[in-house]
Symmetry: C2
Subunit: 519 residues, 2 copies
């Protein structure tokens, strides 16, 4: 597949005229061909208009049709696996084995949502049959289902060019429930975006679906991205990126004449709590394992463990010593973009120059690459300076030496994850922390590390503000569809007009709630 540098607006390929951007090899800064033309407000309007026009047909497709679309996209990505993996690696500096893993996750995710679309119980059918004899008033027949909200804008993420981008989780879950999608590609991997976008465009055409089911735009966030969020035909937004980007889109969405929900994943330092028994019995082992998690993907994961709270006492020195030794062995690594590397360097400098922070270890440096850093500080210093819980996106972490956890937990902002390392003798302490951690984070990890998000039915990848803009939802796993649904009730609808899934016979074989009782 030849890359053209064009946007995909419905069935067309369109060269944007509002400037250009190139993918770049992050190791060298060299531009990768082709150049990508950036879109403008007219392109946003064209894509949104097609999406709105497609919505009526697409939301009425069967689960089988939407499942076939998602399966076809997954198969199409596998067909171009070799050029796709090569382009991802070239544009992002992510090592090929990780890219292959992310591709498998992405196709697995697409098929998982395809199966969900086919199974169909996610409409959450509720049926309260009429009670004509009820007194003082008869009860009408009431049937409820969930319907898709409308066209969804999805913003690609820099750090997961496949799993959180053009054919990522938000796109898959929106398509599964009947929402057309307009993707704004991340400018750091335009070639990857085009490759994936053409697979989706081809699948939409192959299945005879309306062209507006999918469009792909290139452009900058502040102009094209905000225009997309403001377009009246867009009804929900999925975003993964920076806190400033997420809050700007959220503000734009709230200021619309008809506000819409924004599901923005923004920042998280993923606190880790090292309990005394765990430190005493396996401090060194934990230190080494921590560094593996910290440095995966050059630390550029949303769930990277950037903040640790360790009880002063036996094993803490062993933990820090083993972590320092492991960090010294980690090769310097390319970061996703020069901008991300510069921000990482700034964040490291800020910690290094902080009068109450001590640098414990740093990996071997190399020009143009990033190297992991480990710092420590005291509980008093941490509590005195809220800036010490700001995310440093990359493989930098701060260990706070504490005598207890209550005060520091109260000082923390909302997080995607919270992790506890506990030995058998720590279980009472761990149990006492759980209620606070439930309020702090969307996922609580025991005796593991937060990186590596399992994609399943029970997954929560989301959390209280500011880790996400709306902690009532997840961006990973089957529960992600909740973002793009709203309930509708039908009162005394003639049987012939009942929508699929709300018939008396339950011909679709769904799990439903009848008269308040799950069936």
């Amino acid at each position: 597949m030849e890359l053209t540098g064009e946007m995909l607006i419905g069935a067309r390929a369109v060269r944007g005229t509002a400037g250009t951007v190139h993918g770049r090899d992050p190791r060298t800064g060299d531009a990768l061909a082709p150049s990508y033309g950036l879109g403008d407000a007219a392109d946003v309007a064209a894509a949104a208009s097609l999406a709105a026009a497609a919505f009526g047909v697409y939301r009425s497709t069967t689960g089988e049709q939407r499942g076939a679309l998602l399966d076809t996209i997954a198969a199409g990505l596998e067909e171009i696996a070799e050029p796709l993996v090569a382009r991802v690696a070239a544009e992002t500096g992510i090592a090929e084995p990780r890219v292959r893993g992310e591709l498998a996750r992405t196709t697995g995710q697409l098929r998982m949502f395809g199966a969900l679309a086919r199974e169909g119980s996610w409409i959450s059918a509720r049926i309260d049959p009429a009670l004509p004899e009820r007194t003082p008033l008869p009860r009408p027949d009431l049937r409820q289902r969930r319907v898709p909200t409308g066209p969804v804008a999805v913003f690609g993420a820099s750090n997961f060019p496949l799993a959180f981008s053009v054919a990522g989780g938000d796109t898959a879950s929106a398509l599964a429930v009947g929402c057309p999608v307009v993707v704004k590609a991340h400018s750091a991997h335009p070639g990857t975006s085009e490759l994936v976008g053409r697979v989706i465009q081809g699948a939409v055409a192959a299945l005879g679906l309306p062209e507006g089911v999918f469009s792909l735009l290139f452009g900058d966030g502040e102009s094209l991205g905000v225009a997309l969020v403001r377009d009246p035909r867009i009804r929900a937004v999925g975003f993964t990126g920076s806190r400033s980007g997420g809050t700007a889109l959220t503000a734009a969405a709230a200021a619309r004449p008809v506000p819409i929900p924004v599901f923005a994943e923004m920042s998280s330092v993923n606190p880790v709590f090292l309990l005394p028994g765990a430190l005493a019995t396996r401090g060194a082992e934990l230190g080494a394992a921590f560094v593996t998690s910290l440095t995966t993907g050059a630390g550029q994961l949303c769930t990277n463990p950037g903040l640790l709270f360790a009880i002063e006492g036996p094993g803490l020195d062993e933990f820090l010593g083993a972590a320092a030794a492991a960090i010294a062995e980690v090769d310097a690594a390319a970061m996703l973009t020069a901008g991300i590397r510069a921000a990482y360097d700034d964040g490291v400098s800020r910690l290094r120059e902080h009068p109450l922070v001590t640098e414990v270890a740093a990996g071997p440096g190399s020009p143009g690459l990033s190297t992991p850093h480990l710092f420590t500080t005291t509980a008093d210093a941490f509590l005195a300076d809220r800036g010490l819980q700001d995310e440093v996106f990359g493989a930098a972490a701060l260990v706070v030496r504490v005598t207890g956890f209550a005060e520091v937990i109260d000082a923390l902002e909302g997080q995607l994850t919270a992790t506890v390392h506990a030995a058998a003798e720590d279980l009472d302490l761990a149990a006492s922390l759980l209620p606070s951690l439930e309020l702090l984070a969307g996922r609580i990890v025991f005796d593991g590390w937060p990186t590596g998000v399992e994609v399943g039915s029970a997954t929560v990848h989301g959390g209280p503000y500011p880790s996400t803009s709306d902690g009532r939802s997840t961006s990973v796993g089957t529960a992600a569809i909740e973002r793009f649904l709203r309930p509708v009730a039908y009162q005394n609808l003639p049987p012939a007009l009942r929508p699929p899934g709300l018939d008396d016979e339950n011909t679709l074989g769904l799990r439903r709630t009848v008269d308040g009782v799950p069936r």
Copy 2:
């Protein structure tokens, strides 16, 4: 029970010092004793602080305990039914039989949420058991449940002093799932609010629950109400009232350092579509039935049918004639407050003076009371003036004479309900309208009237903006609990620490999803 004019802050009764308000007989404007002292920022902080302190204990109570609280409140309201009904009628002008009906709905609602709390499957447990042998990576054990978001602020509504106020739907659903509640009473029925609030305060004490589970504040929306929404300990807001009030609270919530969701029900004209067959076969009958719905509660219902679209042709004149005749027979009625009556009079004058609107009928007037009004206009006039779809809160309605529905539906804002009257020969036309109506409204009513909201499992009382601030939720029925929940996942949690409902044995006997399959 002697009314004292005090706020209820946890277990205390506190006289507010920031001004006073009286309940008033809306028929005479006479003040009703006692005067109510209005609260200030310190009272808000005191109530929110107690709520936050109570949250930890309250959210850990069993479903049985919360069910007992809700049942005790229901029984307590029944015990004071006579003085309560008398006070509601005195403060609101609502006729006693309607007040008794609303009381029954309120106690029924409390018990329904009590049963839901006890049954417990609303935590939506999802369990993906560990797969230690999976390749390339083992799967961790992941268990998800939904937890309460935190203390909820509830704003009482003027038009449902019981069912949407101190012990109304938002309070009941928040309490059912473990959220403490701080109510801001509506100033139009302070005595009713105190009576109900003391029942809840007493129930909290009788069951040995932390006092902060419930507080009741008096004050004006712009100062005390906004302060309550801005309090960092409040995590969600339920509101039923005006569009200006709802948008002000939504803006205040979005501007917080940590934004929170606001579920505001704001305005709806509840369009009714009169299809040609229905008009031709039963125009006169529909006209009379329409007036019954229009004038129920002096038209002061959120679901009042204020806008009708009727196909030009046989039966429309009969519809209008029967409606006019029925309106002429309707007694003038007291409205809830002098302010509401003034706004109604303004709205009626605006329609009456509109050059393209014709007055068809008005009920017999009486000083200080309101009388129903019926107007007609053309499709062109309706499409040319968006102001013609503004809600006139009260028993005024506008019939738009149309030749088709598509264009006017596209011009409509989001609604709580949409109603269709169709004869057998209209079914194809009705079917063609359904998809648009699903996008327009939260509840679609066939061959009935939108007033009279059934409280059940399948109920949706909510709808696209601006009928509510968040059309993904309902304020009535068991699905209302969704607003106050967020998901949390637990990864590799030691079995001894698993929260109730997430154990392997399912000792609570919940409906759960295991490995993606509902059980």
